[in-house]
Amino acid sequence: MQRYYVLNKNKLINFLSFIQSRSKLAAPVKKGEKSYAFEYITDLEKIALHYLPTILPVKKYFLPQRETLIEFNKKTRKTTHVIEFEELTLFGVHTCDLVGMQCLNAVMVEDPKDINYLERKNKLTVIAFECNSYCDEHATCGIMRTFIPSSGYDILFTEFDTYFLIHIGTTKGSEIVNESRLFDVAQKEHFDELNKLRKRKEEIFKPEINASYDELKKLMERACCTGAWEGIFDKCLSCGTCTNVCPTCYCFDINDDIDLNLLNGCRMRTWDSCQNEGFAKVAGGENFREERKNRQVHRYMRKFKYPVDKYNMYFCTGCGRCSRACVAKISLKETMNLLSERIKL
């Protein structure tokens, strides 16, 4: 399979039209001065090719904010498991968000498998867009080593002055490129450019935290039950924003809805957050994570410790969303730096 192609920049619009002829298209659009969001695209002009990480990561297409799991009828007592899905192409997925998707994959393929997630994922086509420089000061993709795309895409776009270099990740990606007839096979000069870019990126993206990649987990282990967190989360409002915008947070709540006749209804899952007051509360009233501070420590453990033990992956993609979106300005970078100052490894 030919893996590298070139698309002339002036043909991008043709390519996206071609995509639209095959499936629905979602891509980043501008929502406010610094806010972007992935949205269904009808008007290609609206696509923001260069954008700050979107408010919500693309996980919303894999694990929607609200999703039906079961439909039931109280009279016939019939219950059916349903899967909602759509043929959709995501265009412009950032390098960090690719990692987020891989994290979710690791969780959802683990037994018992999450069929809804996996089925929906099968119908999605991912066209990634490599970041050539930092989006802003919140990103920590340097230390998380998520600035070079490795996998998780069907097609990868890397931008150069007059063209995009295309890398094919899957057979599906190859088919799209071939069918579109818009691409040329990449030549040596293109690879040279790519190598140069990647080298330049190694210079641009440097660890943003005063600890090494491997030390992050150790930092968590040492900090966990100590006073190292003192004061860091006093500002936390427990609003739940940091988890909702996180590309690797997947916790959900399950609730029933029924029509007014109390006959037909459904069981739905909705994103939930470990920062919410009721998250770890049991029916008897005991709240196992009553203190706001502990909820935040738990969040950090779920990014830098538990998934490393379980999946050998950090569940932080360095996208910076949690810091960017926090109204109390709690920054992941500052938190980790403070911990590394306070904890001698």
Binding site: L69, I70, F72, K74, R77, T79, T80, H81, V82, I83, E84, F85, E86, E87, V107, M108, E110, P112, K113, D114, I115, N116, E119, C224, C225, Y250, C251, F252, D253, I254, N255, D256, D257, I258, L262, G265, R267, R269, D272, C274, F279, A280, K281, V282, A283, G284, E286, F288, R289, H298, M301, R302, K305, Y306, D309, K310
Partner: protein
């Protein structure tokens, strides 16, 4: 959005009939269930099921019967929220949706031939009853069996008839204490930990199985360790908020563990260093 349906998934419900029900106290009700297709629930003591009231919700409920008795399974449910209240309205003959069994199947061979101490605080007796009846159905496979029960008041003691049976016919030492006695109460008054020092144990061959309110564990474990019982001989059943039961939704997480998959039954040595467990 397109939609398709599938036959079996982690979330599909299996219908069961209620074949018997009775109130044990004002807000605690007993349910005997049988799957409508006649199959048995393939479970181990310590496991739980998700019970569904479509339109209202789903709750995790520990299984209170022993798998040695076939053709049914039993749940004992306290009215604590909207789903459990709704379950209480069910009568014999009604149908209910079940998912499960959920949770880890602990290898019962580890406790075979051993002396056992059951320590139950309040409703903790409900899941422990599954272990107790399992042991009693295989009475000769086990050594000395001691049951310690602590309740707030004498009225809160569940399974009074069965307790009598355990004591009289099955060679079980039963000790009970209440926080607050009434005039008729002749037994111990005080916390459950007060019962532990006076029991006689051979630490090497004794396993303790503990279930009760969260506050109880630390103190009971301390008392058991003081008795010389080893850390890997203490078995604990922990309660957490559960929504999916399949290790995804995140509510029941205890440090590195998902209570619904890795528990709810744990050996003490597995969780003693877990910052969120006890």
């Amino acid at each position: 959005m397109n939609k398709k349906t599938i036959k079996h998934s982690s979330y599909t419900l299996k219908p069961a009939h209620i074949i018997e029900t009775k109130y044990l106290t004002d807000d605690i009700k007993y349910f005997k269930l049988r799957f409508t297709d006649g199959t048995d629930l393939d479970y181990t003591p310590g496991q739980f099921v998700m019970v569904s009231m479509c339109g209202v919700g789903e709750v995790p409920i520990s299984i209170s019967s022993t798998p040695t008795r076939k053709g049914f399974f039993e749940l004992v449910i306290r009215k604590a929220g909207k789903v459990t209240s709704d379950i209480h309205s069910l009568k014999t003959g009604d149908k209910i949706g079940i998912r499960g069994p959920m949770g880890r199947k602990i290898p019962l061979s580890t406790i075979e031939g051993k002396d056992l101490i059951f320590v139950a605080g309040g409703l903790g007796i409900v899941p422990l009853r599954s272990f107790i009846d399992f042991v009693l159905d295989n009475r000769r496979d086990f050594g000395k069996v001691e049951i310690l029960l602590g309740c707030k008041t004498p009225e809160e003691i569940l399974f009074k008839d069965e307790i009598k049976d355990w004591e009289e016919t099955l060679n079980v030492e039963f000790n009970c204490t209440v926080d607050k006695a009434d005039p008729k109460w002749k037994g111990n008054v005080g916390l459950i930990t007060s019962l532990i020092p006076s029991i006689f144990v051979y630490p090497e061959r004794t396993y303790a199985i503990v279930c009760g309110p969260p506050i109880m564990y630390k103190f009971v474990i301390k008392a058991l360790l003081e008795k010389g019982i080893k850390e890997d001989h203490i078995i604990l059943s922990l309660e957490r908020h559960m929504k999916c039961g399949v290790g995804k939704c995140g509510h029941c997480q205890i440090g590195n563990y998902y209570c619904c998959q890795d528990g709810p039954v744990f050996f003490y040595h597995e969780i003693k260093n877990n910052w969120e467990a006890l």
